[in-house]
């Protein structure tokens, strides 16, 4: 009973998106499309293909760059917070959690003027920087959790066997924390992937990611096309979930919002 309820509640929105994207003639009050067709998908991949694929590429590039920087900065910070107690640790953790709590709206508006002056507004890097502000804390907190269950004596052993600092990093630290790194990367990627307002304000219409395009399509009222683009937009998220269930035992994704 409960299982069926969960299944229907979760899957119904996707069913309606798929049905709309595959309908070519579907008027009110028909419960079922009168005619199925691939018009919307043809539009997505051929008529408006260059534009939509460009937005897809832009989204992937922004999210991947943001995730890579988040993880690179999050690993050392998570290591310090997870392994050691130090003076000012409470303050550091409060500062790092603030971007998670305070809504991004006013920060983005504040940054906008500064980015205009520095020539970052409307640029790829400007959008990555504003996404980084909100994605980095998640990477730090994931890595904090990983390092509080991490045993650094393996590093000492490697060093005593003559491994260089680089070798310790590549052969010991990274492999031992790999599941955490994947989760931190996924968190940051998905968070950046679904950003709309910060991209709109900082990107100023010049950095067109998928959500920007999707909003424009919803305004145009072409439901089948909006449905098809929504499916393209949600696909990486579902792939990430499958990936985590397969490789991280399904526990990895808990806590993503």
């Amino acid at each position: 009973m409960a299982a069926a309820g969960v299944g229907i509640a979760v899957l119904l929105p996707f069913v309606s998106l798929v049905m709309w994207s595959l309908s070519s003639r579907w008027f009110y009050p028909q419960l079922w499309p009168r005619q199925w067709g691939l018009r919307a998908w043809q539009y997505v991949f051929s008529t408006a293909g260059p534009q939509i694929l460009a937005a897809l590429g832009q989204s992937v590039l922004v999210a991947a760059t943001t995730a890579a920087i988040s993880v690179a900065i999050g690993i050392p910070a998570g290591r310090a917070l997870g392994l050691y107690d130090f003076r000012g640790k409470d303050l550091v953790s409060v500062v790092l959690i603030l971007p998670v709590i305070v809504p991004p709206l006013c920060v983005t508006m504040g940054l906008h003027l500064w980015f205009i002056i520095m020539g970052l507004a409307g640029s790829f890097f400007g959008v990555v920087l504003v996404h980084l502000t909100f994605c980095l804390p998640y990477a730090v907190f994931v890595m904090w959790g990983i390092f509080s269950n991490y045993n650094p004596s393996y590093e000492e052993q490697a060093r005593s066997l003559g491994a260089s600092a680089w070798k310790v990093l590549v052969r010991v630290i990274l492999p031992l924390t790999f599941p955490g790194i994947m989760v931190a990367g996924l968190f940051s990627f998905l968070l950046s992937w679904s950003q709309y307002l910060s991209t709109l304000i900082i990107g100023g219409g010049k950095v067109t990611t998928l959500p920007i395009l999707l909003f424009a399509l919803m305004g145009s009222g072409d439901r089948p096309v909006a449905a098809a683009v929504s499916i393209v937009f949600v696909a990486p998220a579902l792939l990430a979930l499958l990936f985590s269930a397969r490789y991280l035992g399904g526990k990895g994704i808990a806590g993503i919002r």
């Binding site: 009110y28 050392p76 107690d85 504040g110 509080s148 045993n151």
Partner: protein, 305 residues
């Protein structure tokens, strides 16, 4: 050399401090990014909210923009609507999540598929689910068609308004759909950690189901539940996409109103947009600090773990 192969989870408490230079090098990049980008953004937002916008020839600090916003009769309507939406969404999601957590622990491992499906909303962007809600809830959407087919209504006009409506039903449903798995998984991780020992003790002491729930389960999950609810409240109070797509044109939620002012062609409306943004941040921060203090007080009195 002794090697401790089993991880303790207490690294921070057992490991000697390597000294401030080492710690500093490790946390500096993250602190730098957050203080410069987040702190800097907030500071510049403040300056502009106070009317300091040299590029537009405004060089005097003034509280006028905040005063304008607070004196606007629409402000309290917007604030009320925003609070209503975020409190309702958070409360509904929390109640469903408690129920779901109890159901899922009783289902245990048999239903791996249910556990998997249940996690799907975690990764789905809010925007996608808002689009799907339009397709389902709109007057010409799936639900309206189904109701007509079943003879519950006789035209699309008699279908209740569920999107762009004054009760924000579509918005609340979107948030509940999205946040229930998040809160549930936060609760589940506590329930799995604490195990069933306490409940069994309660059972041997002849505590009924109700008593076990209110005196054992609820106090155990409260800290996680509270933290999760706080995150959901903070998010829904400051979020833009969902109310922008599913909300009515008047009154608007605070974030939508803030952006409308900010993107106005009239540059003078911009500081007011930022002022609204800062008020949103202030409300959320106050809520977080107040609930932390309340939790501390409750913990001192032994009401929660």
């Amino acid at each position: 050399m002794t090697t401790n192969v089993t991880s303790t989870g207490n690294n921070a408490r057992t490991r000697p401090n390597p000294g401030l230079p080492v710690i500093g090098r490790l946390v500096a990049p993250a602190l730098l990014v957050v203080t410069v980008l987040f702190g800097g953004g907030l500071l510049l937002g403040f300056l502009q909210g106070l009317g300091y916008l040299p590029a537009a020839g405004m060089k005097v600090f003034t509280l006028q923009h905040f005063a304008n916003v607070l004196a606007d009769p629409d402000f309290f309507r917007s604030l009320g609507l925003t609070l209503y939406i975020s409190v309702t969404s958070t409360a509904a999601a929390a109640l469903i999540s408690i129920f779901m957590a109890l159901v899922l622990t009783s289902l245990a491992q048999r239903h791996r598929v249910v556990h998997f499906i249940f996690q799907i909303p975690l990764t789905v962007p809010h925007l996608v689910i808002a689009v799907a809600v339009v397709f389902m809830f709109a007057p010409t959407g799936l639900f309206s068609r189904a109701a007509l087919k079943l003879g519950l209504i006789n035209s699309s006009a008699s279908f209740p308004l569920l999107t762009n409506d004054s009760w924000g039903i579509g918005i609340v449903c979107t948030y509940v759909w999205k946040e229930v798995p998040f809160i549930t998984l936060m609760i589940l991780s506590v329930l799995r950690r604490t195990g069933v020992e306490l409940l069994e003790v309660g059972k041997t002491l002849k505590a009924g189901r109700r008593q076990r729930f209110f005196y054992i389960t609820l106090p155990t999950i409260f800290p996680s539940l509270g933290a999760a609810c706080l995150i959901v409240f903070a998010y829904t109070f400051g979020a833009f996409e969902v109310p922008f797509l599913l909300g009515q044109t008047y009154p608007m939620t605070l974030p939508v109103w803030a952006y409308k002012n900010y993107s106005d062609v009239d540059l003078l409306a911009r500081p007011e947009g930022i002022a609204i943004g800062l008020i949103i941040a202030a409300v959320v921060t106050t809520a977080v600090v107040a609930s932390q203090l309340l939790t501390k007080a409750a913990r001192r009195r032994g009401l929660v773990l």
